[in-house]
Structures are given as structure tokens and as C-alpha cells.
Symmetry: C2
Subunit: 153 residues, 2 copies
DNA sequence: GATAAACAGGATAATCATTATCCTGTTTAT
DNA sequence: ATAAACAGGATAATGATTATCCTGTTTATC
């Protein structure tokens, strides 16, 4: 069991996009290369982020991606949700259900616990945003330089 | 991304074993059948639980499995750990590491957050044990009957 | 002792999810 | 019109999980 690699890559992709001057975009291929991901696949990951309204895509020549929300509005959980979807950690396969048909009202004890655990995990992931997490990173000159060299418009 | 099915199955397997009278065992095949798992595969899952000292295996004719700890000492997290191992939810693929070689002392901000999230998840899973979770289940007569019919010794 | 029923554990196959590639279509700056 | 970019469907490669098989060891019973 492992969270998809695309999650970490997405965090950094969004991080790069957060260093972008207004009205500029970064082409998907540049991002993929910088992150070291396969471009054709990472385009699909970028689309997931775009479907979740975290980033915006600009088609056409001089097109690319840019943030749709400000870095302080993008929680790490939003990225997790965009990539992994809901109930990502656990869902019941109803093993006990097969063993003991339980009365409708009775909640399943294990499912309850697992849900509480997942809620707790999610709460932590909601507690930080791209901007709260990467204030330090943004001081990195190399990265900002790379962004400046690769942006379009 | 999904926690292995074997985790939920293990919880119920241990639950069954907790209904066993002292000095008796349940054969692995009986457990597998009741849970609806492939016997050959589930034997390996039972071994993981046994490797983690949650259950004990008795070889030979009239052999089988029984609990090694009391139900109140078996936390749901112990079962999770036995099946999924450590760092099960997330580990960094060092994407940022490639992007910005960071000074040794500086902890990685994303890894830190993910660790805090996992710790929080684990804390919830440590908060309940087999006995705290399944007091209700143990009142189910059908299950106790099944155990009585399938136990050995 | 021989036999049967159970676990141990290695090797291997089947299945399924993730990752990667390819191709056709649409958008837009030049 | 052309080129460079995204959209999205189809499909292949890879890797992890699940399942099977087989050989060996333990132990109760005959
Ligand atoms: S009791 Fe809950 S966790 Fe257990 S099998 Fe049913 S639904 Fe799943
Ligand atoms: S900074 Fe941390 S999370 Fe990011 S790539 Fe490095 S080790 Fe991984």
C-alpha cells in the first residue's frame, strides 16, 4: 500500500507554479522534465489538478499551466484529494457483513474506527497549504531562476 | 491506493480467535473459509500475524492457530503493522531533493507534514483494541457457535 | 513405526492497479 | 497555414497484490 507517486510530484509541480509571475504559464513538458516524470503521464496528472480547479490550463501556442488559486488557498489535502480521490486510505470489503448480518442501525465498529483515523489524517493534511509549507523553498534562487527561464508569455 | 484487504480479514480472523476457549485452536483452513479468503493465501497472512506475535501457530495434527496476546492487548494498529509494515501510507520519493539539494540540517517540509499525518492516523488505530472494538460482536451467537463447531482439541 | 492433518516457507502464476506511450482532435500565437 | 501547446481516448508496460503449488516439518492417532 502506497500513496501514488503522483501526489508528491503534484505538490512540487504546484510549488513551481506558485513561483510564476502573474500572466505567465509553465508548459507541462517543462514541469515534467524538472520533476523527472514521464511527460505524457504527467500531463494526465496535471489534468487531474486542473479538474479539481487547483490549476488552470491555457491551450494553444504559448499555452501551459498556472495556478487557479493562491498558494495560501491550496491545502496539501486538496492535492491529495485531486490525485487519490476520496476514501483513499481504506474502505471496508464487508468481511464481517458476510459473517454476521448486522441490524441496520448498528454502525460497523471497524469502519467507524478507520473513518476516524482517516479523518484525523485528513485534518493534518488540511492544516498546511502550499504557502505555509514552502515559505523556505521559495527563497531558493535556483528554482526561481529555472521558473523564469521556462515560463511563457 | 488502498490498504490491503488482508488487513480487514486479519481483524476478523483475530476476532474469531478471541472467541476460542483456552487450550483450543482453529485450523487455518476453517478460518479462511469463514472469512471467504483463499486458504493458501490466507495461511501466509496468518503467518504474518504469527511473526508479529499476535497469534501462535500449533503445528501437527490437531494443530491450528490461537491468540498469543489477550484481546485487550491487541491494538488495531498492531494488526495494521503486521500486515502493511511500517511507513505504509507514505514515503518520499525525493522529488524535491532532486530539484533543490537542501542543507543537511533542514528537514523536508512535506515529509514532516506527511509524518505528522501518519502519526495522527496511527494514534487513532492505537486507541482501540480487539476487545474494545468487538464487545458487541462477541454477543453474536451464530459466530460463537461456528467457533465451537470448528475448534480443535 | 506408519499415516493423516496441520503449519512453514520457497517458487511461481494470475490478477489488478499504476505508470507510460501513442494518436487524434482542439486551441491559439505567429 | 503552421507550430506549439492542452484534451482525452485507447492501449501497452510495469509493478504490487493475490492465489496456487509443492516440498518439508511437526504431532496425534492407529
Ligand atoms: S462490520 Fe464494518 S468493517 Fe466489518 S465487514 Fe461489515 S462493514 Fe466492513
Ligand atoms: S523535500 Fe522532502 S518530501 Fe520533498 S523530495 Fe525531498 S525528501 Fe521528499
Amino acid at each position: 500500500m502506497q500513496i501514488k507517486n503522483g501526489f508528491e510530484q503534484s505538490v512540487y509541480a504546484i510549488c513551481l507554479l506558485s513561483m510564476l509571475p502573474a500572466k505567465s504559464v509553465l508548459p507541462g513538458e517543462a514541469i515534467s522534465n524538472q520533476i523527472g516524470a514521464s511527460p505524457t503521464y504527467f500531463q494526465k496528472i496535471l489534468r487531474k489538478l486542473s479538474d479539481s480547479d487547483l490549476i488552470a490550463s491555457v491551450p494553444g501556442k504559448k499555452g501551459g499551466f498556472k495556478l487557479k488559486k493562491s498558494p495560501s488557498e491550496i491545502r496539501i489535502y486538496d492535492i491529495f484529494l485531486a490525485i487519490e480521490g476520496q476514501q483513499a486510505l481504506y474502505y471496508s470489503n464487508n468481511v464481517l457483513g458476510e459473517m454476521v448480518p448486522k441490524k441496520d442501525k448498528e454502525a460497523c465498529v471497524l469502519s467507524d474506527l478507520m473513518e476516524r483515523a482517516e479523518t484525523s489524517w485528513i485534518t493534518v493534511l488540511k492544516s498546511e497549504t502550499i504557502s505555509s509549507l514552502f515559505t523556505e523553498l521559495h527563497k531558493e534562487k535556483e528554482l526561481q531562476d529555472w521558473v523564469n527561464q521556462n515560463l511563457v508569455q
